[in-house]
Each structure stands twice: as structure tokens, then as C-alpha cells.
């Protein structure tokens, strides 16, 4: 076991899968240089046919990925910032998500989309959005939001091996975080979450970078005698409902923490599922801590106001436990 960073985890997963299957290839803006470090060195090993720099034309190159997938390849399409998915919306949501279904199962779409999401720090509204919540209501897409290096490596490999469109969301706030990973190859199946911290007083369901914030909050709350269980769904589609419901059955109180918005996001979606299937477990209303329904503002104090923090998680848990 050695420690690797989140960015190294992405790089290793990509390398291993590109080596494993010659049908895989990577396309995106400046992927040969790899501005966040995730794709550095890949062009040297795999060449320019399989590591393609695309022009800034998201609809075009995303759609080209869809076409390549249906013609027998396994594309890995990088969208530089999650907000740029909006430029490729038709190809992801009307095409990749629906073509298999509409063709009665004829079309194969073994395509992986990777993107950087969330507030990086004063990147303003068009470079800071979470976006994964939007895809929850587009059936046909799998959604993966890894919370650390170990999960990232295992989940990204699964995503690439999956024969369906899978969207993987990477948060660069986690870029340098380190974790031990096995020397041997490993996969984390999609749809299997993990309890990241056991507790008995309250369940905190956390998504992506919010997992590490929830864990930090849990440490602070422990000093105040509150025992927090942190569960990490890892994938939003498919969702490990069983893990979430088991935890709520144990603690009877639940807070969902997400960087996305309150309306129509991952927190709202999970809350509805818990309300539907776990109502009898609950001692009180389901709480959500998410971004208010405004675009992410540029200026630091306003940006900090909209992004859930360790302290806000502590506050929300304290409100829940009374």
C-alpha cells in the first residue's frame, strides 16, 4: 500500500484502463498538457491518436465521442469545467442518455465523461457549478462523485469498464488529498456506497468533497458528545439506497450535505427517497445543507456564504439533534 493523491488516482486509473483496453481513448481540451495534472504523461505513453486535444467545441467533440462509442470504441470525454456541460447538453442528454433506449437496446454507449466540478475559489458562476444534480432527471446516465483518492481510482476504473454512459465528477479541492491504495488492481462497483465513519446519533449523507468536510465536522461534534455517522453514496446513479436507509434506521435523524443547490439537486433527490422509504425510521424532518438557489458569486465572502463548510455542517447537525 502506498499513499497517492486524488489527482494521481485519476492518472493511474486512466493509465491502467488505457493499457488494458485498446478501444479506450481520451479526448478533451488540452488533455495532452493536463492542466490539473490528471492527464499528464498519457500522450507520451499512448500517442496522439488515443490522447486527443479537442478544439474548444464541446457539442462537437462530445458528440464525436457518442458516435465513436456507437461505432465500437470506448471514449473517455473530458469536459474541462462541469459548467461547460451546458454547451454539450444535447449530445449528453438527448443522445448519449437516450440512444440505447430509443433503439430498443441496439445502441451501445460505453462512454465515460469526466469533469471538474464545484467552487475552486473565486472562479465565478460559469466555472464553479456542481452540475451533477441536473443529470438526475435525465434517465440513462450514471453519475459518480468520488470523495477521495482510494474511491476515485476504483470508481473511475469501474466507470470506464461500464458499458453505459457514466459521468465522473472530480473536485480539485481534493486534488492534493492523499490516501493509501493497494498495489494490486482494485475496482469499486458502481452503486455501492460506503460508511466512512460510524456513529449513532445522526446520519450525515455527504456527496463528493462534502464527505471530507462532514468527517471534519464529525470530529468537532464528537467533542460535544454527538456521535455522527457519515455515509458516502459514491454514486448518485445507481444510488445505494440500502446503505442510506440502514443508517437512518439506526440513527433516526438525517442531514444531507451537498455543494449543489437546494432546488432539484442531489440532496432533494435523496431526501425524497428517504421520506418515501424510510419515513418510519425518522424522529424528525430530513434536513438538507446545500447551496442557496443563487449562482456562485465571485467575491470570497459571498462565495463562502453559498458553499457548505465544516462549521455549517456542525451547526446543522446541532440543530437536528437539538
Amino acid at each position: 500500500m502506498g499513499d497517492i493523491t486524488y489527482i494521481q488516482a485519476i492518472n493511474q486509473a486512466l493509465k491502467e484502463e488505457l493499457r488494458r483496453d485498446p478501444r479506450t481513448f481520451l479526448i478533451g481540451i488540452d488533455v495532452r498538457l493536463g492542466i490539473f495534472g490528471a492527464t499528464v504523461g498519457l500522450a507520451d505513453e499512448f500517442g496522439h491518436e488515443r490522447i486527443r486535444n479537442a478544439p474548444i467545441s464541446e457539442a462537437g467533440y462530445t458528440g464525436a465521442g457518442v458516435g465513436a462509442a456507437m461505432a465500437g470504441m470506448r471514449p473517455i470525454v473530458e469536459i474541462e469545467f462541469a459548467s461547460f456541460f451546458y454547451c454539450a447538453w444535447d449530445q449528453v442528454c438527448n443522445q448519449a442518455a437516450k440512444l440505447r433506449y430509443m433503439s430498443g437496446g441496439q445502441a451501445d454507449l460505453p462512454i465515460t465523461f469526466r469533469t471538474v466540478y464545484g467552487a475552486l475559489g473565486q472562479a465565478a458562476a460559469q466555472h464553479s457549478e456542481t452540475v451533477y444534480g441536473q443529470f438526475l432527471s435525465v434517465p440513462g446516465l450514471k453519475i459518480v462523485v468520488p470523495s477521495g483518492p482510494y474511491d476515485m481510482k476504483g470508481l473511475l476504473k469501474s466507470a470506464i469498464r461500464d458499458n453505459n454512459p457514466v459521468l465522473v465528477f472530480e473536485h480539485m479541492g481534493l486534488g492534493r488529498s492523499k490516501e493509501a491504495v493497494p498495489e494490486e488492481e482494485y475496482i469499486i462497483p458502481l452503486g455501492k456506497g460506503a460508511v466512512k465513519r460510524e456513529g449513532k446519533d445522526v446520519t450525515v449523507v455527504a456527496i463528493g468533497i462534502m464527505v471530507s468536510k462532514a468527517l471534519a465536522a464529525a470530529k468537532m461534534l464528537e467533542k460535544d458528545g454527538v456521535s455522527v455517522e457519515v455515509v458516502d453514496p459514491r454514486t448518485l446513479v445507481p444510488l445505494d439506497e440500502e446503505m442510506i436507509l440502514n443508517s437512518v434506521a439506526k440513527t433516526h435523524k438525517v442531514l444531507i450535505v451537498d455543494e449543489g443547490h437546494l432546488r432539484g439537486g442531489a440532496a432533494a433527490d435523496i431526501a425524497a427517497i428517504i421520506a418515501d422509504k424510510g419515513f418510519d425510521y425518522l424522529d424528525g424532518p430530513i434536513k438538507r445543507l446545500a447551496a442557496p438557489d443563487v449562482p456562485v458569486p465571485f467575491s470570497p465572502p459571498m462565495e463562502q456564504f453559498v458553499v457548505p463548510s465544516n462549521e455549517k455542517i456542525v451547526g446543522a447537525v446541532k440543530e437536528l439533534v437539538g
Partner: protein
């Protein structure tokens, strides 16, 4: 040619280019000192394009801009204090700290915003032109966009719309040979973006983007054509950005990662400001003293703008919830 442009206008354009240059240099330096939040895209080297184009426009005319918009704002007549304050994220900024560098805007002078999405300004400028046409009010819209943006679908859709409806829009491509960190050679199928005008049935003109007089005169012709109701024009300004895509990119890419030092140095020899000074000193139109006086005035203005920005308050956190919807 230059004789027809009056001396006042020439000096005004010099002042604008110097303001853009010095402001961008100061912002770059402040960024490197860690005083500017987020990312910064500066237009050092491209001053003649923003200046020459905007000199052909009135306050009522519209422009859309890119992620590299400080020069466009200044050239259109924007003020340094709210510009710098916005870049610092202060409440006194143009956008009350909501947008920052990439979203700088001054709607009161028709500057419809810098934009973080490559290619987004093309349909927007086209729409502003459409509004002018519907109203019959005579404004022209100018779209600033890069060579990278000309590969976006929105470029083709916009030019087609402007063509079919003969919209009063001038599309100004600032071709600085790179889109982010990729050379145009690798991502753009044509060498001259102006060639794409033919595919959309409008004139396509290549200009030395570092010659402010040439930029100005060509834009005047395109603007007059638009105002006469004859439709759009595509102007391609060949130019270069000295600083790279974002300030500080060497830190994560390494030095000379995608552009050679020789290429950068070669373009620096074609500085739009130095060439202007040489030309108009040689023909005795202006004196070095006149130039130096202007430079000193601008330095003071920038000092004041930076002091204003530093002294201005940050927004209150809850201001994040404001400016969502207009009154119904």
C-alpha cells in the same frame, strides 16, 4: 490614410492603448503578489484591437467580450475604479463583486459583459444587433471573440443568423494563434479565420491587429456598412497575447510549455504601442513629451483606482442572495 484621422483621435487612441497596457500590467503584478482572487486573463499585447475597434463606436453601440475583457471594457469607455474594485471582489465593483474579472460589464455604455464561456458572446452580440434592427434605432453590435471561439458551433449559427437577416453586427476575431494552451495549427482547420466569412456570405477582412490605425479604419468601414443596413462583416485581427492564457500559468504548466520564448519575443517586437510611438514621432505628429505626459497621467489614475479598490469594502456575505430576479 492616417492624415484623415484627426490628431485628437490619434492621441485618444494612444491614451486608451496605454491605459489598457498599464492597467493590465498592474493587475498582473498584483495577481503575482497574491492580491487578486481567482484567475486573471490579461490582454497585454492586444491593445490595438480593443482600442481601434471601440474608437469606431459610440456609447450607444454594443459590444460583447470574452474571458479576456478588461481591454474591451476600458476601450469602450469604462472606468478604472469600478473595474479594479470588481477584480478585487469589492462591493464597489461594476458587478458588486458577483462576477469578477471574467464577467466584467458596464451596460450603461453598451458593454454587455466579459464571458467565461468561449463562444457565448457571438449569439449575444447577434441578438443585440437584432434588437437594434427591430427598433430601427441605428446601433451596431460588435462581437469580440478569439480564434478558439471560431470553432464553436455558436460562431457558425451566429454568422448565419446575421447573414440571413442582414443584422448590424461586426464580428471581430482577435486571432492570437492560441485557444487556451492549444495552437491554432492543431485545433483550427483553416489558417485564416476570415476565410470562414465566405462560408457565411459576408466580407472577411484580415487586419494587422497590432496597428491601431488599420484596425480603426477597417472597423469604421464595417460599422458604416452595418449602419447602412448592408449586414455583417467578419474582421480578423492578427495579434498575440504576451502573458499567456492565464497569469501564473508557468506555475502549473512549467516554463514555455506550449509557446516558445522565441515566438513570444518575436511578437513583442511588434508591440502596438511602440510601433505607434515610432511612427508618430518619426513624422513629428507627436513629441515624446506628449507621450510621457499621458503615461504619467495614466499611472496616477491607476494608482488611484487600485487605492480605491483596496479601500473599498468587501460585500457582506448575505449579498450573495441579491440580484437574482428583477421586480416582476
Amino acid at each position: 490614410m492616417a492624415a484623415e484621422i484627426n490628431k485628437d483621435l490619434l492621441l485618444k487612441m494612444y491614451r486608451t492603448m496605454q491605459t489598457v497596457r498599464q492597467t493590465e500590467e498592474r493587475l498582473r503584478d498584483l495577481f503575482k503578489e497574491g492580491k487578486v482572487p481567482g484567475f486573471l486573463h490579461v490582454s497585454i499585447g492586444e491593445e490595438a484591437t480593443s482600442t481601434g475597434v471601440c474608437a469606431a463606436l459610440t456609447d450607444k453601440d454594443y459590444i460583447t467580450s470574452t474571458h479576456r475583457g478588461h481591454g474591451h471594457l476600458i476601450a469602450k469607455g469604462g472606468n478604472l475604479k469600478p473595474l479594479v474594485a470588481e477584480i478585487f471582489g469589492k462591493r464597489t465593483g461594476y458587478c458588486k463583486g458577483k462576477g469578477g474579472s471574467m464577467h466584467i460589464a458596464d451596460f450603461s455604455i453598451g458593454m454587455l459583459g466579459a464571458n467565461g464561456i468561449v463562444g457565448a458572446g457571438l449569439p449575444i452580440a447577434t441578438g443585440a444587433a437584432m434588437a437594434a434592427k427591430i427598433r430601427g434605432s441605428g446601433e451596431v453590435a460588435v462581437c469580440f471573440f478569439g480564434d478558439g471561439a471560431s470553432n464553436e458551433g455558436t460562431f457558425h449559427e451566429s454568422l448565419n443568423l446575421a447573414g440571413i437577416w442582414k443584422l448590424p453586427v461586426v464580428y471581430v476575431c482577435e486571432n492570437n494563434l492560441y485557444g487556451e494552451f492549444s495552437s491554432g495549427k492543431d485545433v483550427t482547420a483553416v489558417r485564416d479565420i476570415a476565410d470562414r466569412a465566405r462560408g457565411h456570405d459576408m466580407p472577411g477582412v484580415i487586419i494587422n491587429g497590432n496597428d491601431v490605425v488599420e484596425v480603426y479604419e477597417t472597423t469604421v468601414q464595417a460599422v458604416e456598412r452595418a449602419r447602412r443596413g448592408e449586414g455583417p462583416t467578419l474582421l480578423e485581427c492578427k495579434t498575440y497575447r504576451w502573458e499567456g492564457h492565464v497569469v501564473g500559468e508557468e506555475a502549473f504548466l512549467g516554463k514555455d510549455a506550449y509557446r516558445s520564448k522565441e515566438e513570444v519575443d518575436d511578437w513583442k517586437l511588434r508591440c502596438p504601442i511602440v510601433s505607434f510611438e515610432k511612427r508618430f514621432l518619426a513624422n513629428n505628429m507627436f513629441t515624446q513629451t506628449e507621450f510621457d505626459t499621458i503615461k504619467a497621467e495614466i499611472k496616477r489614475e491607476i494608482d488611484e483606482a487600485v487605492a480605491f479598490a483596496i479601500e473599498s469594502p468587501m460585500p457582506d456575505p448575505e449579498e450573495a442572495l441579491e440580484d437574482m430576479f428583477a421586480a416582476a
